[in-house]
């Protein structure tokens, strides 16, 4: 490689109790797309935050154009042309697109406010056109779908005259169409000589777009792959240090004929078509669809978060009238919510406190928490789910995404589920933990639990489901049996093409 544009050498960083990075190196050429992969907790995000100026490394150097630079803070990084786009979007939702792009850098000269707003809007227009974002710069960001919000972040990065754009899991909440659009944008950036560092758990994406892959494992470099070597198995091998056989462990058993959950004509919004389906004991039913198709809303309605406007829910043949989650929980219907950080966990609380929260009623003695039983419950789940924490008294916020998700699962597995609804169970979860979660789902199904798995990850839907329900714009667009299942079939239904109108 000729002189790399950006090079990090021997970067080390320690956090309380964790050696996050140890002598990690990274090279990025001009106009190159470098993918950085690794399990959660491997140090990818830390490394990116160091490049983006959020953290300062304990030791090591960063070179730009061969000259050593000290980045120090985000401002400095942006001046050097390095922009980090965080996993969680950082947009002021109440401002319009142009306002977000130029936030903090609005021209201070001239005219009343209206003129300035028009001026930055006209400045924003060419950038939006370049990204193919077909929206007026005066549109409020809150009114945009998430995919387009992502493009606004990229537009902001472009307006800063960036040379390096770091994207941390940009596709985790994008639809397929939005993802494709993002690939085109990345290809354009490449052509203009802008380098992209791309972090993703979706190895398939990386196969498609990366020029080179740097693999991190446990805070160290685990290897590099050049364009020709980038393959799914090769990456996994470097990430986990061994080949993962049988990633999706679904040992299909005979599904018992008895229906556990029977949903008839369920509606939660006005003007929405009623939804009916059933779940049988021991099966894993995948639920596919684009973001915003109403899958999460459906789950929330069954679980009692949303108000049910019409329809019947029966469990084991008995009608279930759920007005709040507690009633669903009492009937053995559990939900692992989409956003584990805001809905699934109390991040400041301990692993133990999170696991026991839904079961405290059973752990009480004269209304007091029975400490020993609580501890036993938490320890039991830690062992069963292989939650990696030195102590169940440690805060959940310190765990990696995969282990956090296991804690959310642990909340429910201690209580014998009848129906388990998993909303995006492996989003932001590393490869190792993913495999463990799949194995667990398989085990649960075998023990007679009806599992409904909502997922935007097609590989997962194809790999794990016995049957797939596809939603499109608030209604059930179709059902695919195991035999009919293919990526195209799912996407056709999800985009409303294959539907009998």
């Amino acid at each position: 490689m000729p002189l790399p544009l950006l090079e990090a050498r021997q970067i080390s960083k320690t956090f309380p109790g964790v050696q996050a990075l140890q002598d990690v190196g990274l090279r990025l050429g001009r106009g190159e797309v470098l993918a950085v992969v690794g399990e959660n907790g491997a140090g990818k995000s830390t490394l990116m935050k160091i490049l983006g100026g959020v953290y300062t490394p304990d030791s090591g150097t960063i070179h730009l154009d061969g000259k050593p630079v000290s980045i120090g803070d985000v401002d400095k990084a942006q001046k050097l042309g390095i922009v980090l786009i965080h996993q969680e979007l950082n947009l002021a939702e109440n401002l319009d697109i142009a306002g977000n792009i130029f936030l903090g850098r609005e021209p201070t000269w001239g005219g009343p406010l209206g003129i300035i707003r028009r001026r930055i809007a006209s400045d924003a227009e060419p950038i939006l056109r370049r990204l193919g974002l077909d929206r007026s710069p005066r549109t409020r960001v809150a009114d945009l779908p998430i995919g387009q919000q992502q493009l606004v972040e990229i537009a902001r990065a472009l307006s800063l005259k960036s040379r390096v754009i770091i994207m941390d899991e940009p596709t985790s909440s994008l639809t397929q169409r939005e993802t494709d659009r993002l690939y085109e944008v990345i290809a354009d950036l490449k052509r203009d000589g802008i380098s992209v560092v791309y972090i993703s758990h979706r190895l398939k994406e990386i196969e498609m777009i990366a020029d080179r892959v740097t693999v991190l494992r446990d805070g160290r470099n685990a290897g590099e792959l050049e364009r020709g070597e980038i393959r799914h198995e090769a990456m996994v091998r470097l990430m986990v240090g061994r080949a993962l056989k049988q990633f999706f462990q679904r040992n299909r058993a005979e599904v018992a004929p008895n229906t556990v959950l029977d949903i008839r004509g369920l509606r939660w919004a006005d003007g929405q078509q009623p939804i009916s389906f059933e779940l049988r004991a021991g099966e894993i039913v995948g639920m596919a669809g684009l973001i915003g198709a109403g899958r999460t809303e459906l789950a929330e309605t069954i679980f009692g978060i949303r108000k049910r406007l019409a329809g019947d829910v029966r469990i084991d043949g008995r009608p279930l009238r759920v007005r709040r989650p507690r009633e669903a929980i009492a009937a053995g219907v559990y939900l692992v919510p989409e956003d584990r950080r805001s809905q699934g966990l109390i991040l400041a609380d301990s692993v133990r406190g999170n696991i026991s929260l839904p079961s405290l009623q059973r752990l009480q003695r004269f209304h007091l928490v029975a400490g020993r039983r609580e501890n036993a419950l938490a320890e039991g789940q830690r062992t069963r789910l292989n939650i990696r924490t030195p102590d169940v008294g440690k805060s959940v916020g310190l765990l990696s995404g995969g282990n956090q998700q296991k804690v959310v699962l642990g909340k429910w597995l201690g209580r014998n589920p009848r129906v388990l609804i998993l909303d995006e169970p492996t989003r932001g979860v590393d490869v190792g933990a993913k495999a463990e979660i799949y194995a667990l789902m398989d085990e649960l199904a075998k023990s007679g639990v009806a599992v409904l798995m909502i997922s935007s990850d097609l590989e997962e839907i194809l790999g794990m489901s016995d049957r797939v329900l596809v939603m499109h714009e608030g209604h059930l667009a179709g059902e695919l049996s195991r035999a009919e299942l293919s990526e195209e079939a799912v996407m056709r239904l999800a985009t409303g093409v294959g539907e009998a109108a």
């Binding site: 709040r324 939900l335 805001s342 109390i346 400041a348 839904p358 209304h367 007091l368 102590d391 008294g393």
Partner: protein, 431 residues
């Protein structure tokens, strides 16, 4: 935990300076006064603290105090329909209920009877009437809290706005009810005042001392048990709520009982009398400790404060528990109103309790309750309140102009908050 140790150290320092600064500070009477005020403010701060833990806030505390003190006075005087009703109900009760002591004589051991007689005989006339008045005022507190809580949970108005409106509304109601007249008791109900607010508790300081000691030993034993258990299981040293509770109790004992006071220095063992308000505070704090730190309901309080959505997704009845927090807070405010009337013998509807909500919230916040919710402890509130009571005393003893009292308090609260923030950042960087 760091925060807790910080404020404990701060309290010890101001107490030490207070003792060193002036001989007057070391007297029994000064300690007695401090304990009385810690008890009074502490009752309010505990209510505010428990509410703040759930992420709520109550700005109407002061007005509720005013309303309940005024209503209590009117009930006792037999004014308004309510007061007359209470009197009538009391008069119609069977005689055995009205004359409780005679009935109890038959069944209770002699020593207890003579003890009860000593307390109950102080009250002449139907002693159930005042009891009904007390109960009515507490029910009033429950009702006010219920209204606040319903507006927050069901109508979904911001708690700040609901209780700010409450601050005005309840104040207005008490002025209207009393026709803006001062409601005093005069010489009536001396005996009720004896029981509820005599400067020393009728049961005598000795019993309280023993109870306090028992609680301290019990918590220490619990703590030791936990440590032994953890050591056996090979877990890390549990620096949990138990130690916090022990520390707080130990510290609260120091300023209150004047262990280093002049009598002690004279090597005379004197058992001090305990102010009534402090006894009530102590009992409520114990109950609150059990409720907040050891019961499942307390867990729900913290869960709701830390992440209401996650609590709801875990099946916690969030609305019900938030409502409970408002009810607890207002009921304790009503109880404060009762004690206030007993102490002052009169209530001024337009001013009684003014600004008390700010004292209550400040004590809780100083004691480590985060206004974001999900953080705080009973022990912390005890210490925060103690600091809030000791500081003005210290500034007086140091000869600082008493008009600067509020400035000293505000400055201390600000410094504490800044220090906490600095420590947090420092901790993030270094460790």
């Amino acid at each position: 935990m760091k925060k807790f140790i910080g404020i404990s150290a701060f309290l010890l320092i101001i107490y030490a300076v207070l003792l060193a600064a002036d001989a007057g500070a070391r007297t029994e009477s000064n300690h007695f006064n401090l304990a009385r005020r810690i008890g009074m403010y502490g009752i309010l701060s505990l209510g505010a603290g428990m509410l703040i833990v759930t992420g709520g806030i109550d700005l109407s505390i002061g007005s509720v105090v005013g309303l309940s003190a005024t209503v209590f006075a009117m009930l006792l005087r037999g004014e308004t329909h309510m007061g007359q009703w209470v009197h009538r109900v009391a008069a119609r009760l069977p005689s055995w209920l009205r004359d409780g002591s005679a009935y109890l004589d038959k069944y209770l051991p002699d020593r207890l009877i003579s003890f009860l007689n000593r307390s109950i005989d102080r009250i002449d006339g139907p002693w159930l009437m005042p009891a009904l008045c007390v109960l009515s005022v507490l029910v009033l507190g429950v009702l006010v809290g219920w209204i606040n809580g319903m507006l927050v949970t069901k109508v979904r108005v911001q708690a700040f706005v609901v209780t700010l409106c409450g601050l005005f509304v309840y104040r207005g109601v008490s002025r209207w009810l009393a026709e803006d007249q001062v409601k005093g008791l005069g010489n009536a109900h001396e005996n009720l005042r004896d029981v509820l607010y005599r400067d020393t508790y009728p049961f005598g300081g000795r019993i309280f001392w023993i109870a306090l000691l028992a609680v301290l030993i019990l918590t220490l034993a619990l703590c030791a048990l936990r440590i032994v258990r953890a050591a056996r299981a090979g877990r890390a040293w549990p620096v949990g709520s138990t130690i916090a509770a022990v520390l707080a109790e130990a510290i609260s004992v120091l300023p209150v009982y004047g262990i280093v006071s002049e009598q002690f220095l004279d090597r005379r063992l004197v058992i001090f009398d305990v102010p009534t308000s402090f006894v009530f505070f102590f009992v409520i704090a114990l109950a609150a400790t059990v409720f907040l730190h050891f019961s499942i309901h307390g867990r729900y309080f913290f869960a709701i404060g830390a992440n209401e959505k996650a609590a709801k997704y875990s099946g916690v009845e969030t609305d019900r528990y938030k409502l409970l927090a408002y009810v607890l807070c207002s009921t304790l405010a009503a109880f404060y109103g009762i004690l206030f009337l007993m102490q002052e013998n009169s209530s001024q509807p337009s001013s009684t309790g003014n600004f008390l909500e700010l004292y209550a919230i400040a004590g809780a916040v100083l004691g480590g309750c985060s206004l974001r919710g999900g953080e705080g402890s009973v022990a912390g509130v005890i210490i925060g309140t103690s600091i809030f009571v000791l500081l003005p005393n210290l500034s007086t003893m140091l000869g600082i102009n008493p008009t600067l009292e509020y400035t000293v308090l505000g400055g201390a609260l600000l410094m504490g908050t800044i220090l906490d923030e600095v420590l947090r950042r420092f901790g993030k960087r270094s460790t």
